[in-house]
Amino acid sequence: MAGPQVTRISYTLDSSLDSVSRVEQTAEQLAKKAGMDEDELFRFTMAVREAAVNAVLHGNAYDPDKRITASFENTGNSLVIRIADQGKGLDPDTLPDPLAPENLLRGSGRGIFLIRSFMDEVHFKLLNPGTELTLVKHLGTAST
């Protein structure tokens, strides 16, 4: 069983959809080990996937010379995921509200919103260059 020990995994990956899949699969495995139920697991995994897509697509823009880093940690109380890109940096305060009537029919712009909806904590850190997102899911709680 998982027990109280801390589990950490980290990857450096290229800016591809294969990397997104790898991050997603690792998140799913971590969530299963942590004992999340199906609904929680879906929301957690989706948030992590969205963060990886954000890094690969919006951060690094599929640039083959840029990498993303992803780390996964089970602290015993929480799952903590950090995903960083080497892009031009994301200011979350500038993102349009996808629930605003004028934005409802937009074909994009819901990723960060879903991450925030499904995680207990979301932190943005500007790197030089790039952005690091830290996603925290407390174990034993449901976010929605």
Binding site: V20, V53, L104, R106, G107, S108, R110
Partner: protein, 115 residues
């Protein structure tokens, strides 16, 4: 596990049966191309059966919205059928549940199209 699309015609409505994942790189483009193909053939009454869609991400949600607006802008109708709980919940969270015309019975869904 990519998305599969099969189409059938019932009483002037094109039903697209989707299965698998609608995500960036795994279905979003397929869905966009399939809808454009139908529109190019003049098929503007489209019912998307999502009963076997087990996963959708923000890109897939965006593609549903784009399909909806593209069809509507061409004078057609696009409706959704048989949402799974996951997709239903996502459309509620994103406030799109009220945007789409969502059905859970195929026969009444077909009858609801204006054509």
């Amino acid at each position: 596990m990519s998305m599969k699309i099969s189409t059938r015609q019932v009483d002037g409505v094109t039903i697209m049966d989707l299965s698998g994942r609608i995500t960036l790189g795994e279905g979003s483009v397929q869905l966009r191309d399939a809808v454009r193909d139908l529109l190019s053939k003049g098929q503007k009454s489209i019912l998307l059966n999502l009963g076997d869609v087990n996963y959708i991400d923000s890109s897939g949600i965006g593609e549903l919205v784009s399909a909806f607006t593209t069809v509507r802008n061409q004078g057609g109708e696009l409706k959704l059928l048989n949402l799974t709980k996951k997709v239903h919940d996502l459309l509620q969270i994103t406030k799109l549940y009220t945007v789409f015309d969502i059905k859970d019975d195929e026969t009444s869904a077909i009858a609801s199209f204006t054509r």
